[in-house]
């Protein structure tokens, strides 16, 4: 009864630290044009529903969904906004197609972070206004706390986290769309200032601008319009405790639950064997390692050894963030999941250029909404229908 769903088109514009030549509407328009061309469709004729992913405070506009339809060709169509991560938007499109209501849905996510005067101040507004904000702490202090606990539990060092940054910045050199591609040594990265001990400034993904549009279609339509549909095999998403005072600090339970949901749908019993590569959250370098543990791709006892062996490099046993991740591409905030999905699609189609992996079949994409949330989403993609 419920149809399979595939990604049939991707388009993006960016990514760069600033985008002085374009407004957010123009960035979205350019990305949409490319995605519709990739899917070989006309938005006005073929796309039945649209989803935008955005948050008012980042946009500097209340009720931002007002400004979403025109540049996508969505005027007078069923369109809504998901105030979540781009993966939440993609999952919503997936659910709508599975329901049988629509055959083609387009999802848009973007970042115009260069317009935001103080991202730290905006993030501060995400803290509980009664119990947390009066304490007047820098929100990234929360990441420092979490990193401290991770280092204690996993026996990893600050230098191990620097080596994750080194890997992702290096990977970004093979990605022409990445905003922060550098060859930096672990030592150079470890010499940065501490922002919230033990979190170094160099361990934090820097903001970037860009827009991404992804087109999804039902199995029947996907096979008609593209030779290379990328199948969504499983999705999972989960929230944990919003209050800082009640959450588990030693593990990412919400990532564990979301992964379990996605693995169960995609019949993945042994993720490290059944999945070929992953594009996952790395807004903070330590999060990549912590998330790998929560996703069941490593455990707390082995993660340090795997990092040191280079297991997560493109030529390693399990490539992670081949695109450069958020550290290399840039932090696109709620659009991060869309960027990671685009990378998975390019790799699975075999058109990722200089960074193409050797014949991957199954990819894992995961993202997180950042401080202070416990909101995550996971998606398993494959170039094989069955």
């Amino acid at each position: 009864m419920n149809q399979d769903v595939a990604i049939v088109g991707v388009g993006w514009e960016g990514f760069s630290p600033t985008s002085v030549d374009y407004s957010y509407k123009e960035l979205i328009y350019l990305a949409a044009n490319k995605a519709y061309h990739d899917a070989n469709i006309d938005p006005r004729r073929d796309v039945e529903s649209f989803i935008s992913v955005a948050e008012d405070f980042f946009e500097g506009t209340s009720i931002f969904d007002e400004y979403t339809p025109d540049q996508l060709g969505a005027v007078l169509k069923p369109m809504h906004t998901i105030t979540g991560e781009a993966l939440h938007g993609l999952i919503s499109a997936y659910l709508m197609i599975r329901s049988g209501l629509f055959n083609i849905v387009a999802v848009e996510a973007h970042s115009k972070a260069s317009n935001i005067k103080s991202i730290t101040e905006v993030t501060r507004y995400a803290l509980d206004p009664i119990y947390q904000r009066p304490l007047n702490f820098h929100p990234e202090f929360v990441a420092g706390l979490e990193m401290q606990r991770f280092l204690y539990e996993s026996k990893c060092s600050v230098a191990d986290c620097s080596s994750i940054v080194q890997k992702n910045l290096h990977n970004a050199l093979s990605n022409p769309s990445a905003a922060y591609a550098f060859e930096l040594s672990e030592k150079e990265l470890s010499e940065a200032d501490f922002l919230a001990y033990p979190l170094l400034e160099s361990h934090i993904a820097k903001p970037a601008d860009g827009a991404i549009v992804i087109v999804l279609a039902s199995a029947e339509v996907a096979k008609q319009i593209t030779k290379q549909p990328i199948w969504i095999k499983g999705v999972g998403w989960c929230n944990d405790s919003y209050p800082l005072e009640y959450r588990a600090w030693d593990e990412l339970r919400y990532v564990q639950k979301a992964a379990k949901m996605a693995y169960s749908q995609s019949h993945i019993a042994n993720p490290i064997e059944n999945i070929d590569f992953a594009e996952i959250d790395d807004i903070y370098a330590y999060r990549e390692a912590l998330t790998l543990v929560a996703l069941g791709l490593a455990d707390e006892a082995t993660i340090r050894g795997l990092i040191r062996e280079g297991c997560f490099y493109p030529e390693g046993k399990f490539p992670v963030n081949v695109s450069g991740g958020s550290l290399g591409v840039g932090n696109l905030f709620d659009a991060n999941g869309a960027q990671k999905t685009v990378e998975a699609v390019l790799q699975l189609r075999g058109i990722a250029g200089a960074r193409q992996l050797n014949n991957p079949r199954t990819a894992l994409v995961q993202s997180w909404r950042g401080i202070p949330t416990t909101s995550t989403a996971v998606m398993v993609l494959s170039n094989e229908e069955k």
Binding site: G60, I63, G100, D240, S241
Partner: protein, 388 residues
């Protein structure tokens, strides 16, 4: 198309008030508790949670969906917040519908919240930042001002008078006197009271407008086989529709909401409704202003253009009339905590179709009802059709 059937099996709401003592998280908790109790479920039974709340500026919290998550019962569960401005309250049940219809979930909790009183000194301030930052914000427009434009256009296009439009406010506020959660119910209000109230932006007067309010509403959606285990009286979601018009509202025909028509036609087609004026027995159109109820009744194809007022003048719109309109008391009477107000309309249809609306119960045995909300820059229509 063979869509999976989805039913509403429970509903609950908080009191709608001007200044709630509860925090936003406590408001959603109360509504969720009431909805779960109404169908004797526990939060452990719920598979996923959908949340609707309008601009973050009201609660003054960035990523407000995350802030409300634990109050809304989303701890350890799949949870997504959707958003179409003022239309959110009738969109969030559509979001819940596609969660269940996808086949992934059997029991989904749908929650809507708004706490407008936190915005100091007045919630209208939050609307100053909804306009285009380059072309409109320098003119410093506010919402009352642009709706005054629309009301004027509607009145002059069809030759409708202020006295006639005031009848809408009077009926809704009188209806609300029977709603236990209402903020502005008034059994004795008259047309003269409306016409004598303070002018805000001509032709909009204070009693033409719904109040700034705080409140939360929750409903529970279930797949067919689960719904039949929970209740003997499931109320089915038979049609859903939504449509978003261009952001360039200044180019729009303000006399007629075509986006509501597009959304309504989508919902009617899904529900198999060919003649809405005969097949719909209760309507809960969105009524943040009295003229908007008329506007929306026409968009929903329940009256010809410019003729919706006749339903009020003839008595058809009353609870004992042919097409009861806003038997709940609507936003004008029950209150307008934006997203929660829309979901309140869905809860009202649920209670009316089950025959559980107490003093508000409409006459006869209604089989189908329609709820609609509207929002953004006079731009979005969201429609849900429910049936026994």
């Amino acid at each position: 198309m063979g869509l999976r059937k989805v039913a509403v099996v429970g509903a609950g709401m908080t009191q709608f008030v001007r200044r709630a003592q509860e925090t936003p998280r406590e408001l959603v908790f109360k509504a969720v508790r009431a909805a779960l109790d109404s169908c004797e479920l526990s939060i452990k039974d719920i598979d996923a949670v959908c949340l609707g709340t309008a601009p973050d500026t009201f609660d003054g919290v960035h990523m407000n969906g995350e802030y409300l998550s634990d109050g809304a019962g989303a701890f350890g569960k799949p949870y997504i917040r959707s958003y179409v401005g003022g239309g959110t309250g009738v969109f969030v049940p559509i979001q819940g519908w596609y969660h269940v219809a996808s086949g992934l979930f059997d029991l989904v909790l749908v929650v809507a919240e708004e706490k407008m009183s936190s915005y100091y000194p007045h919630a209208q301030g939050a609307f100053l930042t909804i306009f285009d930052h380059t072309t409109e914000r320098p003119l410093k427009p506010n919402l009352l001002w642009i709706f005054a434009l629309e009301m004027n256009r509607y009145m002059s296009t069809y030759g409708i008078t202020k006295e006639e439009i005031a009848q809408v406010s009077v009926l809704h506020k009188r209806n609300a006197a029977d709603h236990p959660a209402a903020l502005l119910g008034d059994k004795n209000i008259t047309v003269k009271d409306v016409l004598d109230s303070e002018v805000l932006a001509w032709p909009v007067q204070r009693l033409d407008v719904s109040p700034v309010s705080d409140g939360a509403v929750a409903i529970i959606l279930a797949s067919e086989h689960v719904a039949r285990r929970i209740t003997d009286k499931p109320i089915w979601i038979e049609g859903v529709g939504w449509s978003l018009d261009t952001a360039y509202w200044t180019n729009r025909d303000l006399a007629y909401p075509r986006y509501v028509e597009v959304a309504a036609r989508m919902a009617y087609e899904m529900a198999g409704i060919k003649e809405p004026r005969k097949e719909i027995h209760i309507a809960e159109p969105y009524d943040p202003f009295d003229y908007k109820a008329l506007h929306h009744i026409e968009g929903l194809q329940l009256a010809d253009r410019g003729k919706a007022i006749e339903l009020y003048l003839s008595g058809s719109a009353r609870r004992d009339g042919n097409l009861p309109i806003c038997p709940s008391g609507g936003l004008l009477g029950v209150g307008n905590p934006i997203a929660a107000a829309g979901l309140m309309k869905i809860a009202e249809l649920f209670w009316q179709l089950r025959g559980e609306a107490d003093k508000r119960q409409v006459a006869g045995s209604p089989q189908k009802g329609i709820a609609q909300a509207w929002g953004d820059l006079m731009q979005v229509g969201t429609v849900v059709i429910m049936g026994k």
